[in-house]
Symmetry: C2
Subunit: 222 residues, 2 copies
DNA sequence: TTTTTTACTTTGAATAATCAAAATTACCTG
DNA sequence: CAGGTAATTTTGATTATTCAAAGTAAAAAA
């Protein structure tokens, strides 16, 4: 079985790869930062992962997962997200802090325990922040969501996902009703101010900077 | 925070120490076997734990925990046992297999999650096998239980604990009603055959060898 | 008491993961 | 294209944990 370290490298590459639309290599700098090691360490590790055929390594260009690597990464992501949901739904923990907890547990939960959790939760398809839960055999469909920074104005939109794990941000989002499932409208876009104002159903309007807005994914409310 | 390895050494010393009645040193051989390393490795590790003041090391005699070491060991044991109970009670997992699961989770469950579990279970005092769950501040009272190998005959006895984690044995015990809470009587003791026969309430009598009998702790049913 | 056995410790070496700092390469900029 | 900057790789070392095998001490047997 892969070590915790290996699982973390693969997970971060997978996350980074989807973050940049699935195509192209993940540069070493990004990876090193995501994993929290110095660039030199990442290089060393990546070479041994390439050796094990878990990723392709193009020196000075970057890395991308092989099918085997992606399979492992998805397993980790699945554990992480199921655990998150479990902590919220069953142990009633705070939306904003379950990410950190899951960071540890994702490496030690056995398949048996995970299956129980999956069953108990009714085979959910998304975690508390709206991130999809990969299933054993991989689909992982790309949805048609976009960030609040680029979504259409004045139309009813549904929040599908928050792509940020900072507890501060999550608490802020929660306080303003910006959680998966919320319906809202963009009332104003201020390009020069680098901001958008949104009005969640039954809530006071909020204005977000583009960077924050991009982390709130929405789709048109159907 | 102590590493998983350190936690395991401390846990095993603590278990071994109570197993031998709380007094005297745990010999290195026992420890090495319990932790699953070669004797040389245990010696090295123990020296560094002594350095950190987690145990006292008497070369060629053995080790015993310092108060600091015992505190850490109890924390691990608490996590282990609460997790076991949680797996049985909430996730409805098999009595016989939760030990192995808890062996991993005991090192990664945070205090926050543990507190939720503790609350959800109503601050339990024993795990599914009857082992006491240490509380933050340490008591851990010695009960007056004894093994079936030495308990009084023909009197109503209550099973308080099974001191064995082998799934095979646990399944056997379960099949014969030998679980914490069961009332039974010793109907016959056969010293020469190295065996005892017990009759659990409403079950067929079973005969156990002394070694197995010693792992079933009972107290007189009050 | 001498010998033998058993338990334990030491030694030398390996693996996984890491870092700091030096060396290299690729990319821009003028 | 020359020069500089930023990203990346190399190198040399460190820490934690482990093992196998050789050495040593203490306990048991003779």
């Amino acid at each position: 079985m892969p070590s915790v370290t290996v699982e973390n490298y693969l997970k971060q590459i997978c996350l980074e790869q989807t973050r940049r639309g699935g195509d192209g290599l993940v540069p070493m700098g990004r990876l090193a930062e995501a994993v929290g090691v110095t660039p030199g360490t990442a290089t060393t590790m990546v070479k041994s992962l390439a050796e094990a055929d878990l990723l392709h390594y193009a020196p000075r260009a970057g890395v991308e997962l092989t099918p085997a690597g992606r399979r492992l990464a998805h397993r980790v992501l699945r554990r992480h997200r199921l655990v998150e949901l479990f902590l919220v739904e069953v142990l009633h923990m705070d939306w904003a802090e379950v990410h950190e907890e899951a960071e540890e547990l994702e490496h030690t939960i056995s398949d048996k325990v995970l299956d129980r959790i999956d069953e108990l939760l009714g085979h959910p398809t998304a975690d508390p922040h709206g991130s999809p839960i990969p299933r054993a055999d991989q689909p992982l469909v790309h949805d048609d969501s976009r960030g609040l920074d680029t979504a259409a104005e004045h139309q009813p939109l549904t929040v599908v996902r928050i792509v940020d794990h900072d507890p501060e941000f999550l608490r802020f989002a929660e306080a303003h009703g910006l959680m998966p499932g919320t319906t809202l409208r963009i009332t104003e876009r201020l390009p020069h101010a680098d901001a958008v104002t949104v009005e969640p159903d039954g809530q006071t309007p909020v204005t977000l900077g583009t960077a924050a807005a991009a982390r709130v994914l929405v789709k048109s409310a159907s």
